[in-house]
Amino acid sequence: MSAPPTAQPQSPLLSVRGLVKHFPIRRGALQRAVGAVRAVDGVDLDVFAGECVALVGESGSGKTTLGRSIARLVEPDSGTVRFDGEDLLALRGAALRRKRREIQVVFQDPWSSLNPRLRVREAVREPIAVHRLAPRAEQRARVGELLHLVGLSPEIATRYPHELSGGQRQRVGIARALATGPRLVIADEPVSALDVSIRAQIVNLLAELQARLGLAMLFIAHDLALVEQLADRIAVMYLGKIVELGPCAEVLARPQHPYTVSLLESVPVPDPGHRPRAVLAGEPPSPAAPPSGCRFHPRCPIARPRCATDGPSLLPVGAGLAACHYAGELLPDWKHSGAAGVESGRIGPVSGPDDDYRPHLEGR
């Protein structure tokens, strides 16, 4: 796998410090700002060359806004974003365009992210032409290479998006993102809109491309089982802040923050006899009015009086970082019960939910 995150010898490719993005809430005839949705509220995050960092959290956690702020699709209010040592937020005009080549985005919905009136060839050629990456005569050949790279057959080039399946469209979206030769790809829920049997294909493609091209990837997702397939490190967000950050396997096996624990426990597992537990009562509060102190304290199973007043900082715990005064105190259910889901076997005796049954269907 990859090098441990805490002891990276080289400097990070992407370095985010104190990033804040608030969206004003406007009311009344004068549209005066009466408050703000604190979508991203002070985030520090590094991504090293060639590594995949997953950004996980529920809706409203700010993970998408953070991704878009880094790509400067939205303008952050404050903080710095350094890419390869250069301050992205200070760049303007041609210099910004040049840097933008190196940061590309793959969007969630392949139905709305492609121009319905452009053939696939044009859609993939567009970024090459805009950034003047190849003379016109060579652009077509470059499009062919890109389509091949993402596993599409050459005859796809003359089709329109509506003639493609969801999986094919997402491959076109990935080819477009790779057209400028980026060093960092921000993939915002790239498989959530796809059919289950197609998701695995795209996840494998992303993993393969990342390894082959040495890409750094910021993988924004809510599905922890998918994240486990791709990520070297995980950053867990809750209401605009990172609450836990660490190596993927470590965070999943030994979560330190109670929110990470409850996220993990809520994940439905495709095993009858294992029932997801609704550990958290209620819903995330509105990011327009985050709770005082630790933002998770109203839903936290181990909250104490201190948590309501004193907001914890992200500090080293175990192999990563966690923002919790009582980090590591809440243990996941499986730590108590031994095997996952045994005590909750409501469908009756099943043939061991965790025995080594792993079907394999190798294509071709």
């Binding site: 529920e58 809706s59 399946s165 969801g166 999986g167 094919q168 059919d195 289950v196 049997s197 197609i198 998701r199 695995a200 294909q201 996840v203 494998n204 993993a207 393969e208 390894a211 809510h222 599905d223 922890l224 089982a225 998918l226 486990e228 397939q229 999943l252 096996a253 996220l263 993990l264 426990e265 809520s266 994940v267 439905p268 597992v269 495709p270 095993d271 009858p272 006899g273 294992h274 029932r275 997801p276 609704a278 550990v279 958290l280 819903e283 995330p284 996952a340 409501r346 469908i347 009756g348 099943v350 043939s351 049954y357 792993r358 079907p359 394999h360 269907l361 190798e362 294509g363 071709r364």
Partner: protein
């Protein structure tokens, strides 16, 4: 008519409380039987079958998963139960029967007059959809919508209906139910809206709930809450639930039985534990393998996949619809359409691997490595 809505309004307490819970009872009262249902949409100069001879059943107190990907026909099948197939689609054949208590013959919903069918919709059969924001009327309060629904199915005073509405909100665990009655849908959070949708579906005390992707739009922590709610309602009200979903993890967590559809057809039906332990159709097997499991990652980039694309139901491959993507495809699969085979473990699967004669002709076991659960012999069902 009397059998349909009359029995549906019987209070829950009238259900005899047996020593064993509804899940342990081997023979459930049938509640809904769908038999060889076909649905077609106009396509070019003809009709394309988007659902082809689909059969399934739901018993009282039973949760049945209807699983499939886009174009599988799962949502159309559920809509056809209440004759809500959108224009210009047509139900071209089959039968949908709703059974009252001790009424084995049942009422044929496909030929029921529209006027009587209206009492079944939202009456004996409640509905929950994926997007609660679209199903709730934004200009009326939650209380108004609940009261109107209750009074549409039962003659009762406004005050009594309002009391009942408050009880329903309490039943689906909406906090401060009395205050919430005066809230408009936009004042509620996503999870609360989905709870209100479920309360609306339960307003006329249905015996069957059709739930189409009820948790897909929700975050995981809320999804777990709503699934728990549906199961507790099943236990308390002895509801039958048809849960339409693409998510096998949701099926594993909630369903007693599963019906798997692919390209408009039922390809496998089994008890949930059987299906997950021994999937009998290569498609089911592939789907289960393609879902990543937390704690059991595949080597990077090596998640098992099903090659190819989900087919357009209008361009159904010849023979078995799954043959272009199947890892175990045999010549016969490209020529003949497989029937459903009944297996010894009670499952049915639409796959020639379970045909004893095909196995001899194609030399299935000797020629290649067919996994154990796919090599069980079965008998064709009529």
């Amino acid at each position: 008519m009397a059998q349909v809505s009359g029995a549906g309004l019987t209070p829950v307490a009238a259900q005899p409380a047996g020593a064993v819970g509804p899940r342990a009872a081997p023979e459930r009262q049938p509640l809904l039987t769908v038999d060889r249902l076909s649905i077609a949409f106009p396509s070019g100069d003809g009709w394309a079958e988007v659902v082809r001879g689909a059969s399934l059943s739901v018993g009282a107190g039973e949760v049945v998963g209807l699983v499939g990907e886009s174009g599988s026909g799962k949502t159309m099948t559920a809509l056809a139960v209440l004759r809500l197939v959108p224009e210009p689609g047509r139900i071209t054949g089959g039968s949908v029967k709703l059974h009252g208590r001790g009424d084995a013959a049942g009422v044929e919903l496909l030929s029921l007059p529209e006027r009587e069918l209206r009492h079944v919709r939202g009456g004996a059969i409640g509905m929950v959809f994926q997007e609660p924001a679209a199903a709730l009327d934004p200009v009326f309060t939650v209380g108004y919508q609940l009261v109107e629904t209750i009074r549409a199915h039962r003659s009762t005073s406004r005050a009594a209906a309002r009391k009942r509405a408050e009880e329903l909100l309490a039943l689906v665990a909406v906090p401060e139910p009395r205050r919430r009655l005066d809230a408009y849908p936009h004042q509620l959070s996503g999870g609360q809206r989905q709870r209100v949708m479920i309360a609306l579906a339960l307003a006329a005390e249905p015996r069957l709930l059709l739930a189409d992707e009820p948790t897909t739009a929700l975050d995981v922590t809320l999804q777990a809450q709503v699934l728990e709610l549906l199961l507790s309602l099943r236990d308390r009200l002895n509801l039958g639930i048809l849960l339409v979903t693409h998510d096998l993890a949701v099926v594993a967590a909630t369903c007693d039985r599963v019906t798997v559809m692919y390209c408009g057809e039922v390809v496998e039906e089994a008890a949930t534990t059987t299906l997950f332990a021994a999937p009998a159709h290569p498609y089911t097997r592939g789907l289960l393998a393609a879902v990543p499991r937390l704690g059991h990652p595949a080597p990077r980039g090596k998640l098992p996949t099903i090659p190819g694309q989900v087919p357009d139901p209008r361009l159904r491959p010849h023979g078995c619809a799954f043959n272009p993507r199947c890892a175990f495809v045999m010549p016969v699969c490209r020529e003949r359409h497989p029937p459903l085979y009944r297996l010894a473990n009670g499952a049915t699967a639409r796959c020639f691997l379970h045909d004893p004669e095909v196995r001899i002709v194609e030399r299935v076991d000797e020629a290649r490595d067919v996994p154990a659960s796919l090599s069980v012999e079965g008998t064709p069902t009529p």
